[in-house]
Amino acid sequence: MREAIKKGLEEALDTDPNVLIMGEDIGAYGGAYAVTDGFLSKFGPERIKDTPISEATFIGTGIGAAAAGLRPVIELMSISFSLVGFDQIVNMAANIRYMSGGQIDVPMVIRAPTGAGVQLAATHSQSFETWLAEVPGIFCVCPSNPKDALGLLRTSIKNNNPVIFAEPALLYGLKGDVPDEYYEIPLGSASISQEGNDISLVSYGAGMKILHETSEILAKENISCEIIDLRSLSPIDYDTIGESVKKTNRLVAVDTARKNGGIMAEVVANVQESFNDWLDGPIVRIGADDVPWPYNKNLEAEAYPSSEKISEKILKTLI
């Protein structure tokens, strides 16, 4: 996964002189998650810019640079740190185009590790892509595998709007095939990660592994699961979800973010509005517990959704 993101960044730096990267310790240190390791010597300090610890200011610096014709990629050490720069992301990056009547574009990508599961406790384990997905004027994506990471990063950097590129912190070491031939993945497109007939399961990012585990458990009960990877939280691909629901007539939506206010609340409400006639049972929604993320391993696992919890709830509710 790390290598796929790295490849996407290197490609952009190689092909577009207007691309530059800014963030804390991305240069000499090589990045908190080592994604930009080696970039400083390859591309130089003008394009690989180590910033002070000033999230609001280096996010806003990206906005200004983008408004003046560059294509900055901003790296945050954690999506929880986006809070320090939230004013810049929401009030500035997302709103400037609209407030100026379409005069000013902000082609900028903000990359940020997201999610729990690595024992970083309450301040470093949150999933604020769910908050940012609500804001019009920005796109928001979150890949679950190396192939999608590269394809989505290519389109994100080429896009002429601000894009939040959330990278599940759990998945940096994930292995997976990446095609040699060039490809892109459009923003706003979900994918069918596994075809099935009886139940549609939807999640994104680190949730995908849990869905596949759930599917294996349910297969033993002769239940066939179709698995949807949302990939894009803004906009959401309701066509793909809807087609799946039309086939299976059952939907289970899983967030690894807190359940309350999670993106699946939005997914579920929209499916209920638009595809209610196709549903043969209540929609099941599962998310992380609505608690601050604990440090302790067992407590963290308790708050996190698991395939056991999900399959148990499915068997109880839908079957």
Partner: protein
């Protein structure tokens, strides 16, 4: 820094070009004043809604400083932005139409008073979160440096914004990366209703603080358009020479409330009366006449033309179309 008085004493004979420049400074200041008065009137009538922050009293700061800029230079400012917009030469009709929320406005009626933009003139907003413009200014300056355009960024801000974290972060980054930004503080003594001494440690002068960030700085009388112009010329030259930042503090004063909703309970009328003695719309024309640059008749002619311009802008705004409902979701994303 020269003051009006010193200039007057010098009695240097002005060339025609210099005389015209002086008259242009007057015309712009008078245009801003009349524009603002018309805004106030139309706010009372209900034609302009939302929050309306007038620039009355501070005209010399915007006009004096912007007169020193080139086309490739960016301007970014705070929500009290009409003065900067007019001094930069933004279309008066379209500015007024924006305040009226009309389709013909600079932002098609989507931004309003606090968010004036004209990208063609590199006027990058009106920003209404106090201190929000600092980081964006840094990015504009980074682009100037990266693309080697030779341009610089002027970032206007008020004394109230200096307690935001972005102020300190941006001064630091602009200095560390040696970015071509001219920070212009419009110190009008009040952040909304809060006098400086109630909210700031370190006294009433701000420019000395720039030293902490190794940024050269100066202070100037912001009520004196020639002093502001001269100080800005020096500052701009310095930024272009070094490629790095400069900090200019303009001591100024707004004669009216923070917004039209402000009863000004937090200050005494004596203070306003005292500052009105420095009104640039009184002092500067007096100097123009005493320096033999123009007569009352010449100035009246300029005023009469400006009055017509402002009247026409109100008429333009009044008779312009409202945006159609179908425009609601235009301009959110670039295709």
């Amino acid at each position: 820094m020269a003051t009006l008085k010193e200039e007057k004493n010098k009695r240097v004979k002005k060339t025609d070009k210099e005389k015209n420049q002086m008259l242009e400074l007057f015309r712009q200041m008078y245009l801003i004043r009349q524009f603002e008065l018309a805004c106030g009137e139309n706010y009372t009538k209900g034609n302009i809604r939302g929050f309306l922050h007038l620039y009355i009293g501070q005209e010399a700061t915007a006009v004096g400083s912007i007169s020193c800029l080139e086309e490739e230079d960016y301007i970014i400012t705070h929500y009290r932005d009409h003065g900067h917009a007019i001094a930069r030469g933004l279309d008066v009709n379209r500015s007024m139409a924006e305040l009226f929320g009309k389709k013909t406005g600079l932002s098609k009626g989507k931004g309003g008073s606090m968010h004036l933009f004209d990208s063609a003139k590199k006027f990058m907003g009106g920003h209404a979160i106090v201190g929000g413009q600092f980081p964006v200014a840094t990015g504009l300056a980074l682009a100037c440096q990266y693309k080697k355009t030779g341009g610089l960024v002027v970032c206007y801000f008020g004394d109230g914004s200096t307690n935001q974290g972005t102020y300190h972060e941006t001064l630091n980054l602009a200095s560390v990366w040696n970015l071509p930004i001219l920070f212009i503080l419009e110190n009008n003594k009040y952040g909304m209703g809060s006098a400086i001494d109630r909210v700031r440690a370190g006294g009433e002068d701000f420019y000395t603080g720039a030293d902490t960030y190794d940024i050269p700085a100066a202070q100037v009388n912001g009520m004196d358009v020639l002093a502001v112009k001269e100080a800005t010329e020096i500052a701009v030259k310095k930024v272009r020479q070094t490629g790095g930042p400069f900090y200019l503090e303009c001591k100024t004063f707004r004669f009216v409330g923070h917004s039209l909703a402000d009863g000004q309970k937090y200050r005494k009328s004596d203070e306003i009366t005292e500052w009105e003695k420095q009104d640039p719309l009184v002092k500067f024309p007096e100097w123009i006449k005493s320096a033999g640059i123009a007569t009352d008749k010449d100035l009246e002619k300029i005023k009469s033309e400006v009055n017509k311009t402002v009247e026409k802008s109100v008429e333009f705004a009044e008779t312009s179309e409202e945006p159609s409902k179908s425009e609601l979701d235009d301009d959110i994303y670039k295709k």
